[in-house]
Subunit: 145 residues, 2 copies
Amino acid sequence: MQISSRFTIALHILTCIDTFKDDYKITSDFLAESVNVNPVVIRRLLQQLKAAGLVNVKRGSGGAEIARPLEEITMLDVYRAVDSVDGEGLFHFHENPNPNCPVGRNIHNVLDGRLNKIQDAMEEEMKKTTIADIVKDTQKCISKQ
Amino acid sequence: MQISSRFTIALHILTCIDTFKDDYKITSDFLAESVNVNPVVIRRLLQQLKAAGLVNVKRGSGGAEIARPLEEITMLDVYRAVDSVDGEGLFHFHENPNPNCPVGRNIHNVLDGRLNKIQDAMEEEMKKTTIADIVKDTQKCISKQ
DNA sequence: TTTGTTGTAACTTTATTTGTTACAACGATA
DNA sequence: TATCGTTGTAACAAATAAAGTTACAACAAA
């Protein structure tokens, strides 16, 4: 099972917003064209990013901007904003192991700590990259072309 | 999005097989009762574990056993056996970013390395635990009860 | 008041997981 | 060889979630 494309799309969106902020009004249509998805998908994502305090979106006149310094937005912030399974972790534990089985009634306890560590490892690595890094790399790529 | 319960169920299964190997014939029905799912779900998982060389399953007479020393089976082996999206990584990249957009045509390159690192971090942590560790912890829990 | 945009509902499509029934293929044993 | 319990697998249903689409009220600015 894969982590949904909302995550990469959100990173793409944020990169676009910053990259084109001086030259274009950043509307959902504009972003939808770069990402190549329906504008409503973008608007839904922008709402999630807004709820997380990562962007501001202007109603009426239109336009999105990033709400925090790029160096302060990590991949983890974005992941949590758009791909969180509220309250649940990365792993989906089978619901009802048999409490009458010695393994069934203990497996949750035994695995939980280790599953959390795995998720932590993933999240720690996500923290290492900020949107600033991604924008910088993108600009390097662009200027080579 | 979450990693499917196949992963935790597979770990549960392997723990059961070892824990009860001397006292019961380990059939799909037996395992299904401990996990509390349909036996066919178990049989499908056993097939995936078998394809990965982690278990042997006896046709006809019935019964499953673990095919390798427990210390040599890591959580990562199990994850790869049952939850691999063949060829694809952990992250689902949106398919068709616009090649006419400077960001769209570079975002894949920019993100790929970082996404791989995140997946690597997760997998490295998975490697740290073997089925032997899980069985040992489970036995500790059981003996306390 | 017009225009372009956002926010959101409603519905469809697609994909995936999980559950379930059914049964042929198989191996051991009586 | 006939029986029995089991596996392997097909086929389909149900549940869940993601992603696409249409439509339109709410809004802000010109």
